[in-house]
């Protein structure tokens, strides 16, 4: 008895595209938030530090699923209605961004103080020191943990199933209803697809690390 793979593929492909879409968009949101809150945590202005820290502590602590429900089911009561996709992207972006901010903050502060002082001695401005001296060195430290985080992000996109966004997990659940006896195969395939996408993330991360660290 052969599994009806071909019947599944169109649905799984649709789901995969949605998953990739959610992952890419929320990656952009989370990376932007990581940079803002991470650098904000090191700001010389107390207000900026406070806001950044509050964001990190708040969104790191809250369960992604609850946050997702909040954004999708609770915000409409405040007259803010988001599409399923936007709700998913916002919730995942906010949550993962809080972790990313810690990576940015710790990588930037790990660059030795001597580098900052050498920048001052050469009369570089604060912005020049950050962009030309500190960030390029911090970036090399950021890449491996960010690679991890992006894989974490990919896996957490499956939670959008619970707000019935038709992502990969959602499609697999539908297939399971229609082809109940093939459940192990369907979920096996699901795992494999997630594995393949996260392998791409690992690969990109490794290439980026090698490229950024040529000077080591």
């Amino acid at each position: 008895m052969n599994a009806p793979w071909l019947d599944w593929l169109p649905m799984l492909l649709d789901g995969t595209l949605i998953t990739i879409q959610v992952a890419l968009l929320s990656a952009v949101v989370s990376i932007v938030l990581s940079a803002l809150a991470g650098l904000g945590s090191l700001s010389r202005y107390a207000v900026v530090r406070l806001i950044s820290r509050a964001y990190v502590e708040l969104f790191r602590a809250c369960s992604l699923l609850v946050l997702l429900f909040w954004v999708y089911f609770a915000l409409p009561f405040l007259q803010i209605e988001l599409s399923k996709l936007m709700a998913g992207v916002l919730a995942i972006g906010l949550n993962i961004g809080a972790y990313g901010a810690e990576i940015v903050r710790s990588s930037v502060s790990a660059v030795s103080g001597g580098q900052r002082e050498a920048g001052i001695a050469l009369n570089l401005s604060g912005t020049q020191r950050m962009l030309r001296v500190i960030l390029p060195q911090a970036a090399v430290r950021m890449v491996p943990p960010f690679g991890n985080l992006m894989i974490e992000l990919l896996k957490s996109t499956s939670l959008v199933y619970f707000i019935t966004l038709s992502d990969l997990t959602y499609e697999a659940m539908v297939l399971r209803n229609n082809y109940y006896v093939w459940t192990p195969y369907i979920f096996g395939l699901l795992l494999l697809i997630y594995f393949l996408i996260s392998s791409c993330i690992s690969l990109v991360s490794r290439l980026l690390e090698r490229r950024l660290a040529v000077w080591r």
Partner: protein
């Protein structure tokens, strides 16, 4: 926060000779001091590191600052480079306060813009080099001329290559710092600071982190630069032979104060204070 001394400076005229730290016999002929420390104090928390420093440095003058560790030598250099702010007192560069500026006719604490203007006159070479590890040797040297002096790529590189030739490293242009020896790293750091053409350069124990066999190459580069003359140098050092050979004036500091100063011959052959005599004993 503005210190009492700075208020006073603004009340007096800039040309005031009062508080001249240097006895006339040691003053180079002609010219006003390029740097003046006046009653400069520095404490880290409760710990006083400098307890009232008066020091004038003249254009082109080579000053060796010697003394036991913990005497505040490095702190003095770091304050001139704006890496530390004095707790009290005034530092003047070209007659202008380093850490204070005038706003609406009133003296206020220097802002970043003022500090940047003043920093253009000062350069510094560090004990631990602090080269930018992610840039090639050439990029290390051209970064500041391009971003700060706004030179074109060609102008900056021409200048950088000339400086790297001066320190004997024109064959290492495209190498990363991690591939250089300590002595080579320090020579790149010297070229990187020189290319900005400061009026005074602080050399902060630049050979202390080097293997003994690499010290010579760095010192001879500094001697060469010293011979060219125009740039004043504040050499914080433990190399007594070097200090004697290069310096126009030697300053001996201990426990946060200047204990004795004079011409190298006098300091090394005829030290007056017991503190200096005891210090020099250890180098014999």
């Amino acid at each position: 926060m503005i210190t009492q001394i700075e208020k006073q400076w603004y009340d007096e005229s800039a040309e005031n000779e009062a508080g001249h730290a240097l006895s006339p016999s040691l003053r180079p002929a002609g010219g006003k001091p390029i740097v003046r420390f006046r009653s400069v104090r520095k404490s880290f928390g409760e710990l006083p590191v400098l307890k009232g420093i008066d020091l004038d440095i003249y254009p082109g003058e080579k000053i060796a600052l010697i003394g036991p560790s913990g005497s505040g030598k490095t702190t003095l250099g770091r304050m001139l480079m704006t890496l530390e702010e004095p707790t009290a007192g005034t530092i003047l560069i070209d007659g202008e306060p380093l850490w204070a500026m005038e706003k609406n006719g009133k003296p206020v604490r220097a802002n970043e813009k003022h500090l940047q203007k003043m920093r253009g006159k000062v350069g510094m070479v560090f004990q631990h080099f602090h080269l930018f590890p992610h840039m090639s040797v050439l990029k290390n040297v051209t970064l500041a001329p391009r971003s700060v002096l706004k030179l074109s790529k060609e102008e900056a590189e021409e200048l950088a290559v000339a400086m790297l030739r001066k320190v004997g490293l024109e064959d290492k242009l495209h190498v990363y710092p991690s591939q250089l020896s300590g002595g080579q790293k320090q020579r790149v750091a010297i070229a990187r600071a020189l290319v900005m053409q400061p009026k005074i350069m602080v050399f902060d124990e630049v050979t202390s982190a080097l293997d003994p066999e690499l010290v010579g190459e760095v010192l001879s580069v500094i001697k060469e630069i010293a011979k060219e003359g125009q740039m004043a140098m504040l050499l914080i050092t433990h190399e007594m032979e070097f200090a004697r050979e290069v310096a126009d004036r030697v300053i001996f500091g201990a426990e946060g104060l200047i204990v004795e100063e004079g011409k190298p011959e006098q300091i090394f052959t005829n030290p007056r204070s017991e503190r200096l005599q005891a210090f020099l004993q250890r180098f014999l």
